[in-house]
């Protein structure tokens, strides 16, 4: 119980852990946390070792950096290396390896790659550099897509001609469906993503209980939120209920953010299919720019190679992203693949299961083994 001490309210954490143990009894439960932010919290606070051994958390595909396939990174590198291009990106993407190195390495070779906090910062760079083509590398789930949407509307309103978006936004529901259809996993339920749900609300998850018979609880990002959501999932199962519940109601509304959804509908269209790293092609799982915003679409402005590149053979990010294996079960984890020299995307992003486990989880697991807990998992 030593990990409980770093919680804001250790007594509440202990009470929740006790409730979870009682609800779980001797049955085995496996819950997937869809969101990389949850994965980070779980490893950071050693939550998996607080839980009874028969209540297992597996990590899902909700890390936007992790799911970008190598071919798209190569396209980003190609764009960054075009003459008179300023390529702008969130810091998380800088170290993601393509087949010819990362954006950070392209920058070292002389490409004008700039890290931005906000897509509106990228637009600002375009306004300040009218002689250059400024491309924004848009990645992220529905948490981030509305910000790109507002930026596109702003670019149109300002009449900025030298700004374009390389759109890689993805949506959360299709990969959940893909995982539910996958025969590899037998899940008892899901922890639903927190901040994606501030945008999409809780209704899009209704198919999880209705069609697949699995409960889903939208959860916040504090350690206590995660424990409370696990208890809610178990309570549903024990009471014979199966529904979408919202543990994070203090931030997430049932209807989400209608204004954000409207702006997304105005600026984006669904791609027929999109490749996800390790998960393969998933239909209607990603966004491109809507025809009305075609002039800002980097894929139309530039004659990009768009070549599909297979994931590195040694890398098992796909299995990690589907929750089939734990980070430490990957053949190259911590040896050939480390945060300093990542092979796979899961080792790059702080939300990636491998990076979170490398940075925090190992210590908790080793400590847990010392006190005789959680060794085999």
């Amino acid at each position: 119980m030593r990990f409980v001490d770093e919680f804001r309210d250790p007594a509440a954490a202990r009470a929740l852990v006790a409730a979870i143990a009682e609800l779980a009894g001797s049955d085995h439960f496996k819950f997937m946390e869809v969101c990389g932010g949850h994965t980070h919290t779980i490893y950071r606070h050693g939550i998996e070792h607080l839980l009874p051994e028969n209540v297992e958390l597996v990590h899902g595909p909700g890390c936007p950096v992790c799911v970008i396939p190598m071919g798209r990174v190569d396209d980003a590198l190609w764009l960054a290396e075009q003459p008179d291009v300023i390529f702008t990106t969130f810091g998380d993407m800088m170290r993601v390896p393509g087949s010819r190195g990362s954006l950070l390495e392209a920058k070292a070779r002389g490409a004008d790659v700039r890290f931005v906090y906000s897509p509106l910062d990228a637009l600002r760079i375009a306004v300040d550099n009218p002689g250059k083509q400024v491309v924004f590398f848009a990645v992220g789930f529905e948490t981030t897509a509305p910000s790109t949407a507002v930026t596109l509307v702003r670019a149109r309103d300002l009449g900025v001609r030298n700004f374009s978006v390389f759109c890689n936004h993805v949506t959360i529901v299709p990969p959940i469906k893909a995982i539910l259809e996958s025969p590899d996993l037998r899940l008892s339920g899901f922890l639903g993503p927190g901040h994606v749900s501030t945008v999409v609300g809780t209704r899009p998850y209704e198919f999880v209980p209705k069609v697949y018979g699995k409960p889903l609880v939208v959860a916040g990002f504090e350690p206590l939120d995660i424990l409370a959501a696990v208890a809610m999932l178990l309570r549903q199962i024990r009471e014979g209920r199966c529904e979408v519940e919202n543990q994070y109601a203090r931030v997430v509304r049932e209807e989400g953010n209608p204004q954000a959804l409207r702006l997304m509908a105005e600026t984006f269209a669904l791609r027929p299919h999109f490749e996800w790293r390790g998960l393969g092609f998933i239909s209607q799982s990603a966004l491109r720019l809507a025809p009305a915003f075609a002039e800002f679409d980097a894929e139309q402005r530039f004659d990009m190679p768009g070549v599909r590149v297979a994931d590195p053979k040694a890398c098992q990010c796909g299995e990690v992203l589907k929750g089939v294996i734990k980070p430490w079960e990957c053949k190259v984890f911590g040896t050939a693949c480390t945060p300093e020299t990542p092979i796979g995307t899961c080792m790059v992003s702080p939300e990636g299961a491998c990076a979170a486990y490398y940075n925090y989880g190992r210590m908790h697991r080793e400590a847990a083994q010392l006190v005789g807990r959680g060794g085999g998992r």
């Binding site: 509106l120 981030t144 509305p146 953010n257």
Partner: protein, 90 residues
Amino acid sequence: MCLGIPGQVVEIVDPEQHLAKVEVSGVRRTISVRLLADQELGAGDWVLVHVGFAMAKIDEEEAALTLDAMRKLGQAYQDELEAFDSTAIV
């Protein structure tokens, strides 16, 4: 990537363009509040800030809890603060 950081609205600087000055841990920057255009928003309100956009209104207690949790993230929180510090939007 999906990190949201609580900030307090200092003033609405441009209602037409939905721009507001927001303070996060003592740092004041202009962000877009267009995603909350259909909600009442004014000085003193707390919002969840993600990549330069207010995503959701939150109450003061939630803001305090989230800030506390984020400080415990250590480097990730510092990185997010530095990034927020760097922003200069149109």
